[in-house]
Symmetry: C2
Subunit: 283 residues, 2 copies
Amino acid sequence: MELIKTVAEMAALGHGWRAANKKVGIVPTMGYLHEGHLELAKTSVANNEITVMTIFVNPIQFGPNEDLDCYPRDLAGDLAKAESVGVDYVFAPQPADMYPKTYSCSIDITGVSETLCGQSRPGHFQGVCAVITKLFNLVQPTNAYFGQKDGQQLAVIKHLAADFNMPVKINGVPIVREADGLAKSSRNVYLDEECRKQALVLSQSLQVAKRLYDEGQRDASMIKAAVRAHIETAPLAEIEYVEIVDALTMQPVGKLEDEVMLALAVRFKTTRLIDNILLGGEA
Amino acid sequence: MELIKTVAEMAALGHGWRAANKKVGIVPTMGYLHEGHLELAKTSVANNEITVMTIFVNPIQFGPNEDLDCYPRDLAGDLAKAESVGVDYVFAPQPADMYPKTYSCSIDITGVSETLCGQSRPGHFQGVCAVITKLFNLVQPTNAYFGQKDGQQLAVIKHLAADFNMPVKINGVPIVREADGLAKSSRNVYLDEECRKQALVLSQSLQVAKRLYDEGQRDASMIKAAVRAHIETAPLAEIEYVEIVDALTMQPVGKLEDEVMLALAVRFKTTRLIDNILLGGEA
């Protein structure tokens, strides 16, 4: 496995792969890898000739009061993990190399990026779209892999790629969970013992929703109320949102007809966790 | 020469060229071709294995009170002209194919897009950036050719490509002029006889500026005043702007030190014309 540290080196490699018509998979991450990331990497390794994992804590997708400075980092550990699952290249650039002083572009997507996390994190998805556009142009991937855990991010990037006719297939990979159900997240490391215990209500509440759905409930407000009620059994849980949205457009629905995503964001003390479940799709 | 009418066909061709590592040149136009466009095409034909000319009157780069509906169109004539200079493919899509109802992305560039035409045509360069991003992703060009006539557009697209690490070289091609000096433009067709005659002051005023520069004048306000004075000798000329900007950043300069662009936009009745000259560069 090779570590690429500069934009120039990455561009040279990516453009070489393009010229040689290599099948390249990209796994964009912010590092501090967990099994969810490694599942993305394994999926890429199994389906491409070359897998590039990017590790970049993208400053422009963090708001001014968010956790950019204290976002957990462990490059040495990440490199060992990436190598263990067969990643060929890790691209870990410096912020000033990705965003030189002259950088002044931004990408905006209305609709799909405005609900859920888009409401509570203004500017977040613009930052995601910009960095993904740059990484795709540098790496020239055939396939890109994103976790269903960040369900809205996946929908936004699918929309971005479609709107701009990007020559890359966007692949969603199912959520990886701890044995007790908590969705894997780099931010789980922030949770103290009590929060970690209470955070179980998130995945449990998704199962409450799934049970209601399987029993035939199609009224969004009924399902959301049941999910909220379950989350509220945890005294430390502060709900930011519980919403049911169309799986493509991320717009709230009243009735569950086509595939929808039940998504939630909940704070436990200073830690903001998200989770979701797809309901009514073909899978 | 082949005419490609759908986004799907263009994507299939472009991705095929990418896989075959073809050297492809793209010449984006809005059609109603004149010798300026054909010069771009000839430059591309001479330097690439395949040349794609795109003909698309891009609705999202026109403001609500601009000339979208009456913008001159002549596809049959354009195809004959394109073929005569060796273009291999003309891509002429429909607006609804480029911008389906779900389309909701936009690209913004601060700085370089905000001066000159960016001030008088709000949203114009966002529309240009979006369509160029789409066309690049569809055609997968090695080289792209733009006229120096639209000098700010060229600077904006160079900035766009650099910011997003696009794998394409942006090439500027010198302005092509009528025998009497008027810069070739599809909009020249709007000029009545009297306006056409008076419009000569534009290219003449650029020569006034060049003479002053060659004589050692480096004060921007002195040069702009002389240019304005010359344009104002034409009674029908209504100056929108006369500005001297840094050739890369498009920001106004007070002293002419590095390469600068003297740019102007002037209306003759309902017709808005632009022209420019580079001063102090290596060329």
